[in-house]
């Protein structure tokens, strides 16, 4: 990997100051900054090749359609899907999971079936499944055993049998703990029990090498904005036969074949799931983001962020009264922590004054934090452009904050 100090210069937003300090952007689990290459690609597209897609016969529209569909092919390659038809563009992970929950609730799941989740799911991989309660589909949970994020995946078998589980939906990387769940192993186990699997890859896509083939999952969701792409674009991957079996989600223009006043028929996937004008510019940006990340090298990105997180966790651990969540051994580029007697909000307000951008809150993980007796944590999350010096600043500033509030 090119050194992060050098990669930084690809990201215009990182060269700004914050409260008189160089900005240290440490909120990458919420969203990442955008490299110039992505901003350029979107701009050039709008300046040269923009038209609506799929419906035009003129040159510009053919070019726009080709650019859009080539983005789909790029996403399919990126995830090692079997074909571009397995890629449905969505606004992001949340919409992808809503789509799947809605359509699976009507097409794949029946009254009395169970869906198995973990206690560490992001609200976006929990609430959409709760909505199926009205159809008599019940949720069950693999408990999180400790603050390291340990889950006993052996329990799948027993739970699956006991509760007629049809689908297991789990996060690949926990956005508050930095825990990496062994997706391939989990999917293999689920498959052997006849369960369908959805992997929430919001925190892993663009942060490590991903392959739906190696993982063996049936569905996977991710957001472009967490991997250098613009907001408003993401995707749902679904195995071809399964997408074929799913009813549409949103309906309207572009996803229909024949429309009569009283009934309509649907295109094949993926277009069946893409009603209306899609986020064409977003898809172009996502393609450019994948290009950028693959040039940097995803294995290196993973190693770098993970090393920074380990370094941060070790450094923070020496501060009196700190409590660090997440695994001790292998953690993704995420460190959540709380400081005794200092509320997470006050903490990040102080860090902000030092030019350190961290998030405080429940990280859309209320059930998990509640289990730990917490309402909020501070979270530092790293990406390819973060450097050790930023971590040093963080550790120092947390210590300074502690002293300030200790009075």
């Amino acid at each position: 990997m090119r050194p992060p100090e050098e990669l930084r210069s690809d990201f215009p937003a990182l060269s700004q100051a914050a409260h008189g300090h160089p900005l240290a952007y440490l909120d990458n689990a919420a969203t990442t900054q955008k490299p110039k290459a992505v901003l350029d690609a979107v701009r050039t597209f709008y300046e040269k090749d923009y038209a609506n897609v799929h419906r035009g016969l003129y040159d510009l529209s053919v070019r726009a359609t080709e650019a859009f569909e080539s983005s789909r092919r790029r996403v399919a390659d990126f995830l090692e899907a079997s074909s571009p038809e397995e890629i449905v563009f969505t606004r992001g992970t949340t919409e992808a999971i809503n789509l799947l929950a809605f359509s699976a609730g009507r097409s794949l799941l029946r009254h009395g079936d169970g869906v198995l989740l973990t206690e560490m799911e992001h609200h976006s991989n929990l609430v959409p499944w709760q909505m199926l309660g009205a159809s008599g589909i019940r949720l069950h949970f693999l408990p999180v055993e400790d603050e390291e994020g340990t889950i006993d995946w052996n329990q799948i078998e027993e739970l699956a049998k006991k509760h007629r589980i049809r689908l297991l939906a789990f996060t690949h990387v926990s956005n508050s703990l930095g825990k990496v769940n062994p997706a391939a192993e989990i999917c293999a186990r689920a498959r052997s029990l006849g369960l369908l699997t959805l992997v929430d890859a919001a925190q892993s896509a663009g942060h490590q090498h991903l392959s739906v083939r190696e993982m063996g999952c049936d569905f996977l969701a991710f957001s472009g904005h967490k991997m250098c792409a613009p907001t408003g674009i993401g995707a749902l991957y679904g195995r071809r036969e399964l997408l074929d079996a799913l009813c549409p989600y949103q309906t309207g223009g572009e996803m229909v074949t024949e429309v009569r006043l009283d009934r309509s028929s649907w295109k094949a996937p993926p277009h069946r799931f893409e009603a209306g004008t899609p986020n064409i510019g977003g898809a172009i940006g996502l393609r450019a983001a994948i290009d950028y990340l693959q040039t940097v090298g995803l294995d290196a990105v993973e190693k770098h962020a993970s090393a920074l997180a380990a370094y941060a966790a070790a450094g923070l651990a020496s501060i009196p009264g700190i409590r660090i969540l997440g695994p001790c051994d292998h953690r993704a580029g995420i460190v959540s922590f709380v400081l005794e007697k200092v509320h997470a909000h006050d903490l990040v307000a102080f860090l902000d004054q030092e030019g350190l951008a961290l998030r405080a809150g429940d990280h859309c993980n209320q059930p998990l934090l509640r289990k730990f007796g917490l309402a909020a944590t501070a979270r530092a999350s790293f990406y390819l452009y973060n450097v050790r010096e930023e971590v040093d600043r963080l550790i120092e500033a947390v210590e300074k904050t502690r002293r300030y509030f200790a009075g």
């Binding site: 509320h343 997470a344 004054q353």
Partner: protein
């Protein structure tokens, strides 16, 4: 540091040593407010005199320094006030924090320290949390004691 404006001495003091903290035995009104952004929740307990004045007031819950200090300050400020007086004060604080009144509005006692929050719009919700609970408690029908 800019933040000294937000965390004025009085705020830090009340955050570290909140006054009237804990539940109130024999309260006849209580209400809570939650800050959606962060999950912080403050619960207020009131006892009203026959004439409708706030005879006793305490708060519980967990929050940041701003919401804790604001709640602590609140309990001192409204003690002995009528429902109308307390509501008027709450409205005054709201105006001060959202910048619709002049920052010089000299609030009684340490309450003035809250004026520092107006420069931090993302923290106004924290400062107002207990005041929303107060309004709710004063408005609400008599609640069974907690």
């Amino acid at each position: 540091m800019e933040l000294d404006e937000l965390y004025r001495e009085a705020i830090l003091d009340h955050a570290r040593h909140p006054r009237n903290f804990g539940e109130l035995e024999g309260s006849d009104r209580s209400a809570s407010a939650t800050n959606v952004g962060c999950g912080d929740a403050i619960r207020l307990f009131l006892r009203l005199s026959p004439a409708g004045r706030i005879e006793a007031i305490r708060f519980s819950g967990s929050g940041c320094a701003i919401s804790t200090a604001s709640a602590s300050l609140l309990t001192l400020a409204v003690q002995g006030q009528s429902s109308e007086e307390a509501q008027a004060l709450s409205a005054r604080i709201q105006r001060l924090l959202t910048g619709t009144s002049a920052p010089q509005d000299d609030l009684p006692g340490d309450l003035a320290a809250l004026a520092g929050v107006r420069r931090f719009p993302q923290r106004v919700g924290c400062a107002m949390l207990s005041w929303h609970a107060l309004e709710e408690a004063l408005r609400g029908p008599e609640k069974s004691p907690a």
